[in-house]
């Protein structure tokens, strides 16, 4: 796979890897009394592994010119496998921490194994490891097909993919060592944030350069969403991670903002990570894979436009609904609530657009588990965005905030929308990527689907119940006008739901393990007839007559 790089790309890769090695060495020395040193060592190891991989193919023959007549899918292939591996890792850790809330002594008297350190491994593993790799993989795939153009070069996609996964590894290992800046979903420290910043800029440049080479006059709707995802995540990441490191030899840093300003910045970031990482990017996925798999055009072009600009504009206002009744000025809270409610229009626009696209293809939904994954994703996208708007209403939020209802809500989104659309897209894309007729085992896709649905419903119902019970118990008064329940009584009341949650999570995890096995076996088993998508290639330089939108 790396042998497909040209000689000059191999040389550039070596230079970059040597630079990485030097950075890692500098960190290892400067941070010898600090967790930073361990991360320096990890970066060095990664660089050395990369250098060996390049040296191994350095004298291999140059790739021939035929490659330019094909899409460049090697990074996508690796991203798909990595996404499935991170899914299993992230969900496994998630299930472990779920069980820890049932059996709290499951920590071996060690810091790294306690809930507080494992929980961000779970959240980052799923959001960034699983979600991020899936987004990078699918976006590069979709970008080329919808532009009818090859990626501009072969090295930069590898840089993005490998740099991004190094960031994920630094994040996860950092949490185990207690390296965190405690900003939820932005926990990695300053040096990992800087790495991601560089990776992200290169990612955006790939996008712009490929779009500049496109043979289609219009930028396809999926690419609007992917572009919004890349651009806005860059803005959010930069602002929310402004911080002052203790020194260049310390992993620790102090946020540039404090108190109420920090809280607003954090939830502006936090909610828009939901909006632009977990929604916009995955909508890009949906707008390509769902119509293709269903064999139907997108139902409404106008709805796509309204939905896109509605989401891009309105989402940025809603973060303050995380801070109802707090020390944040009330007018900011009210703005957040108002925009959260208005946001229902573009959100349901996209959900309806997806489901209406399936009109005339419902028989396929019945027979094809891959398409069913996408259908359930669209349904849960609709459910979760409705629930989110509802929970942003101040009076509802007074009950739901701080409870498991929030946890249930994000999992309805993460399991029901993000994971389902990703699994659907991966099952659609894997046979195309590896030129197979179908997945290794369609039966296992069915198994995965039903395990995922069972796990999702068990999880979400358990958390809805526990959250609402918890919220109600906190505010229950007895006849003499004093609080009825002590805090610990509400903890005890959660126990059965915590067990149910851990069981539901186990179902979902099992499905992901089956998915990983199925993807792996599809790659390994080559005795199937080759895929018939022979026309799946970029257009040569002199542009052919343009396609019109809606065709």
């Amino acid at each position: 796979m790396i042998a497909h790089l040209t000689t000059s790309e191999r040389q550039l890769a070596l230079i970059l890897l040597l630079g990485t090695l030097v950075c890692g060495l500098a960190m290892a020395i400067a941070g010898s009394k600090d967790p930073l040193g361990v991360h320096g060592a990890i970066i060095m190891l990664a660089a050395i592994a990369g250098i060996f991989a390049i040296i191994n193919v350095y004298y291999a023959p140059e790739p021939d010119e035929v490659r330019l007549a094909l899409y460049y899918d090697d990074p996508t292939k690796v991203a798909v496998v990595l996404a499935m591996v991170w899914a299993v890792v992230g969900m496994l850790v998630g299930d472990i921490v779920a069980w820890q809330l049932v059996f709290p002594d499951m920590t071996f008297d060690a810091g790294w194994a306690s809930f507080g350190r494992l929980r961000p491994v779970h959240t980052s593993g799923v959001i960034f490891g699983f979600g991020g790799n899936a987004l990078i993989g699918t976006s590069l795939y979709v970008l080329q097909r919808t532009s009818r153009a090859r990626l501009p070069d072969q090295l930069s996609p590898w840089f993005v993919l490998m740099g991004y996964n190094l960031f994920c590894v630094l994040a996860a290992t950092g949490y185990l060592m207690g390296v965190t800046q405690s900003k939820e979903y932005a926990e990695p420290e300053w040096y990992a944030d800087l790495l991601l910043e560089v990776v992200w800029v290169v990612y955006f440049i790939i996008y712009m350069r490929t779009l500049a080479r496109r043979k289609e006059p219009h930028i396809y709707v999926a690419n609007w969403y992917y572009m919004a995802f890349i651009l806005v995540v860059a803005i959010l990441h930069t602002v929310n991670n402004l911080a002052m490191p203790v020194s260049l030899g310390h992993a620790k840093s102090y946020s540039a903002f404090a108190g109420v300003q920090d809280a607003m910045t954090e939830w502006w970031y936090g909610h828009n990570a939901v909006a632009f990482f977990l929604t916009s990017g995955f909508l890009g996925m949906m707008y390509y894979f769902l119509p293709v798999r269903a064999g139907r055009p997108i139902y409404s072009y106008r709805m796509s436009i309204i939905s896109f600009w509605g989401i891009t504009f309105m989402y940025m206002w809603v973060g303050s609904h995380h801070l109802h009744y707090t020390a944040l000025p009330q007018w900011v809270q009210t703005l957040g609530m108002t925009f959260s409610l208005m946001l229902l229009i573009p959100s349901w626009g996209s959900a309806a657009n997806a489901l209406l696209t399936l009109n005339g293809a419902w028989h396929k939904v019945r027979d094809d588990a891959t398409l069913r994954f996408m259908m359930v994703a669209a349904v849960f996208y609709g459910i979760t965005t409705f629930e989110g708007s509802f929970m942003a209403i101040r009076s509802v939020n007074s009950l739901s905030h701080y409870t498991d209802w929030t946890v249930g809500h994000v999992h309805a989104g993460a399991l029901g929308w993000v994971a389902m659309i990703t699994f659907g897209s991966i099952y659609a894309m894997v046979p195309w990527l590896w030129k197979r007729e179908r997945m290794y085992s369609p039966v296992l896709v069915e198994w995965h689907f039903w395990l995922a649905v069972a796990g999702l419903l068990t999880y979400v119902f358990a958390m809805w119940n526990s959250g609402i019970i918890q919220g109600l118990m906190w505010r229950t008064y007895n006849s003499s006008g004093t609080l009825s329940y002590s805090f610990i009584e509400t903890v005890v009341a959660m126990k059965p739901y915590y067990v149910a949650r851990a069981v539901g999570g186990f179902f979902f995890l099992s499905g992901a393990v089956i998915g990983l096995y199925n993807v792996w076996m599809t790659i390994r088993t080559e005795d199937q007839p080759a895929d018939s998508r022979a026309a799946d290639r970029p257009l040569p330089q002199p542009a052919t007559p343009a396609l019109q939108p809606g065709e």
């Binding site: 609007w224 620790k252 404090a258 809280a263 436009i305 504009f313």
Partner: protein
């Protein structure tokens, strides 16, 4: 040219689309965040407000390191049941030296904004060693190893200096004596302890928080931090009393 016609042109131009996205996405954040740095509701002052001592700051960093914020909020909302359960609701000024804030988003355990002084040091130590020693139904993990780990004090001056760079008013004297002050806060009746009281106020808690005199442990630091929660300023109590008296 209608809306669709306009869009028909935008989606043919990569840069226009990119700039459009940045523009549409920037407005909300600018309107909601920028004013927070100037308007009086969020930048008010409390005259009695003090900064964290080096030991308390170390404890706060341990609190962050262990991810305590994932289960405990530090933000009492303006709701009757919360004020009755935890104490006066939190004010913006109380977290003005919190880089970052630890308001939290989830209460798997109770809110800690007014924890300071509520329990004895001994209770905290027992609770951290194994929460089920004092609360049999607790689902919190044990943190026994905190009592075994000595804290690193040689770099505390750098920590204070970094905090000063982001706006916390640590003096040169505080920064220069950071390591000694961390030691002094856990060893009363020594000259080091006097320095702590001089720099951070006579009301500062100075004692062996983990019950063992000598080198400060992570347990010392974390308990010192927990005992100061909600006690950096009296503003919240004053506000509530004033309102009740009106």
């Amino acid at each position: 040219m209608g809306f669709l016609g306009l869009h028909y042109r935008i989606e043919r131009k990569t840069m226009t689309l990119a700039i459009g996205i940045i523009f549409a996405a920037s407005i909300g954040g600018i309107v909601e965040i920028a004013p927070l740095f100037t308007i009086h509701q969020t930048v008010e002052d409390a005259p009695d407000m003090r900064v964290y001592t080096p030991l308390e700051l170390t404890g706060r960093n341990i609190y962050i390191r262990e991810g305590c914020y994932a289960c405990h909020s530090q933000m009492i909302r303006t709701l009757r049941d919360e004020v009755e359960r935890y104490g006066p609701y939190s004010l913006a000024v109380e977290s003005k030296y919190d880089h970052p804030m630890l308001w939290g988003s989830k209460r798997t355990g109770p809110d800690l904004a007014r924890l300071g002084g509520k329990y004895s040091d001994d209770w905290h130590v027992k609770h951290l060693i194994n929460p089920r020693n004092v609360v049999p139904e607790s689902v919190m993990p044990p943190y026994a190893y905190l009592a075994r780990n000595k804290i690193r004090t040689d770099d505390l001056g750098l920590h204070l200096a970094a905090m000063r760079k982001v706006g916390v008013p640590y003096t040169d004297e505080m920064i220069a004596n950071a390591s000694a002050d961390a030691y002094g806060q856990t060893t009363p009746d020594t000259p080091y302890a006097e320095g702590v009281a001089k720099r951070y106020g006579a009301a500062t808690n100075i004692r062996a928080f983990d019950g063992v005199a000598g080198e400060p442990t992570e347990m010392d630091a974390l308990v010192a931090y927990l005992q100061i929660l909600g006690k950096l300023t009296d503003a919240a109590h004053k506000t509530t009393t004033a309102k009740a008296g009106e």
